[in-house]
């Protein structure tokens, strides 16, 4: 059974011109021990999905779904207490921008120790418990590859480098040994050597602890090196999802192809200094969404039928929503 199963998740935001669908029928499943990548450009609603799973959506937004289940339990109809318990013990989220999500007025050590639940320490007296907590914190830091724990535990968030605080947040997330780690753009703006370090850390955690990871990013290079499967988002709609290897070899949706083509590193045959393939224009804003397939106005293969929303079609493990997919012309 899938760990996390999302079907037809829709999120509506009230704006000046009525209700806008920020997310439109999103489908996403994560199996146990799987690394799934969620790819999309900024503004495509990646972070909204993360927030919807974490339950941090503002109350005046309307969220509806056919299924939003965690191991068969419905997350939406759960009471606040139950949901908090699930979030505390089984789902861990690393939010965007590590520096902003740390408390600037407390040392890293205080923050990490605070996040260790009482159930993990069993000392009778408070000093025993404090010692145990410290021990756990140091162990966690070693696990994520921070060796010099003494100096980091006593420093404030503004004193440390970005990649260290990212690792530190991952350590915080791993405290209660969760089943799934949701990482929202963890490698943004990092240079290549620290990026490989963080990716290696994720792969190692996935292999040694059977940790499922939902890796949200638009960095295709990072994604393709570690993810098993990928879901592509465009403007709040799921465009295509399937196994990583399959998607890279034969993308069916024109948007996926454009996304893959935009990274020159994937194409060895490309002669230097030739123009890269792109789609015209840019992503529409929420106020001006086109009807039907939202890629419509930018799509090179768009035809008359594209004003209707394409339904989700499946070929084995590969699902896509497009009227005129690549490689699969109508007979």
């Amino acid at each position: 059974m899938a760990l996390l199963d999302i079907r037809n998740l829709t999120l509506e935001i009230e704006g000046t011109s009525g209700w806008m669908k920020a997310l439109d029928k999103i489908n996403l499943t994560i199996e146990e021990g799987e690394i799934r990548a969620l790819v999309g450009e900024s503004g495509s609603g990646k972070s909204l999905i993360v927030q919807a799973i974490a339950g941090t959506i503002p109350e005046n937004w309307v969220i509806t779904a056919d299924r939003l289940t965690w191991k068969g339990q419905d997350l939406l109809s759960m009471s606040a207490n139950e949901r908090r318990k699930v979030m505390r013990e089984e789902i861990a989220v690393v939010f965007q921008n590590p520096v902003l999500s740390l408390d600037p007025s407390a040392t890293l050590g205080e923050q990490l120790i605070e996040s260790i639940p009482r159930s993990l320490v069993d000392g009778k007296w408070f000093w025993q418990r404090a010692a145990q907590r410290k021990e756990i914190a140091i162990k966690l830091l070693h696990k994520v590859g921070i060796r010099d724990h003494d100096s980091y535990l006593n420093s404030y968030p503004n004193q440390i480098a970005d990649d260290i605080s990212q690792k530190f947040l991952i350590a915080c997330a791993l405290v209660s040994s969760p089943k799934i780690l949701i990482a929202d753009d963890p490698t943004r703006g990092m240079e290549i050597s620290t990026k490989t370090q963080i990716l290696k850390l994720f792969t190692k955690l996935n292999q040694t602890r059977q940790l499922s990871i939902l890796f949200v990013s638009h960095d295709l290079l990072a994604i393709s090196s570690m993810a098993d499967s990928m879901t592509v988002l465009y403007c709040g709609q799921t465009v295509e999802s399937g196994k990583m290897s399959q998607l890279r070899k034969r993308p069916l949706h024109p948007y996926t192809k454009a996304l893959l083509d935009s990274a020159p590193s994937f194409r060895k045959d490309l002669p230097p200094r030739t123009p890269l393939a792109t789609l015209e224009g840019s992503m529409p804003t929420l106020q001006h969404l086109p009807i039907g397939c939202r890629l419509g106005p930018r799509c090179p293969r768009a035809q008359k039928e594209c004003v209707k929303v394409p339904e989700n079609r499946r070929v084995q493990e590969h699902s896509y929503s497009c009227h005129f997919p690549l490689h699969r012309d109508k007979k």
Binding site: I192, T196, L221, P272, R273, P275, L276
Partner: protein
């Protein structure tokens, strides 16, 4: 033929300042030489703190070099002759969003360098603005737009227009694509490559994205801790890296592309 830009023995030393409690680290950019012909692209590659942004600043004159000379078309660039430099070497910044004034319209943003550096009449200025906007693929209506009304890609185009409006010979770009989404990024890259062909610009491209540098640059310069590790033809450097550090960079890049093969 003299090169468009040639840099000789350029170096920069920032002395460590230490007060009672505060220590600050110094930084040294070791002497370096390179040449750039018109229409060529030079990629500058290095990790954070390797001095690549500093090199960009030295070229546009935002920082004063400790020693060394910069020649433009065989003519020496002097530190106090700001006008000559402004007209010929222009910079594109990393965050196009923050480098545009939110309180001014696009045409006011573009007009400013014209007022400061040229003796054009208001009508000439407006014509020039219109022409430059078209050059970067925007419409002439866009000059009434404020920053927040433009999308990411359009902002980047406006930033490029701001750099191009004085008809420079050299563009220096410090991580211009890092903050952009993939599809907008390739649009911008295509635009710059096209402009380079049409106008014969020299382009200095500072980045840490190896894939991009490899794709668009003719020559590359690899920096580590203020020292030039390797320099030469881009193809040669990335296919047969000589220095150990370059090999490490290239390998880590390849390990991202084909994780299964190693």
């Amino acid at each position: 033929m003299t090169a468009l830009l040639s840099v000789k023995n350029l170096s920069f030393v920032k002395k460590p300042k230490s007060r009672w409690f505060k220590k600050s680290k110094g930084f040294t950019l070791h002497p370096l030489d390179f040449e750039l012909n018109s229409g060529e692209t030079l990629g500058i590659l290095g990790l954070n703190g390797s001095g690549k942004s500093l090199l960009g600043k030295l070229l546009v004159g935002a920082e004063k070099p400790t020693s060394g000379e910069i020649y433009l078309n065989g003519q020496k660039l002097l530190g106090d002759n700001i006008k000559q430099r402004c007209l010929n070497i222009r910079m594109i910044f990393q965050h196009s969003n923050e480098s545009l004034n939110p309180g001014l319209t696009a045409s006011a943003i573009l007009e400013e360098p014209l007022i400061l550096n040229t003796g054009m009449s208001p009508i000439e200025r407006q014509n020039k603005i219109e022409k430059t906007l078209k050059l970067v693929g925007l419409l002439s209506e866009h000059r009434f737009f404020y920053r927040h009304m433009l999308s990411d890609g359009q902002r980047q185009r406006l930033a490029i227009a701001k750099a191009l409006i004085l008809d420079p010979q050299i563009l220096v770009a410090d991580e211009p694509f890092a903050a952009l989404d993939p599809s907008v990024r390739s649009q911008t890259i295509n635009l710059i490559m096209k402009l380079q062909q049409d106008l014969g610009l020299g382009f200095i491209f500072i980045s840490h994205n190896i894939g991009l540098v490899r794709h668009i640059s003719d020559r590359a310069l690899i920096l580590q801790d203020g020292k030039v590790i390797e320099t030469g033809k881009a193809e040669a450097i990335f296919s047969w890296p000589k220095a150990l550090y370059t090999q490490k960079l290239v390998n880590s890049h390849h390990s991202l592309i084909n994780p299964k093969s190693n």
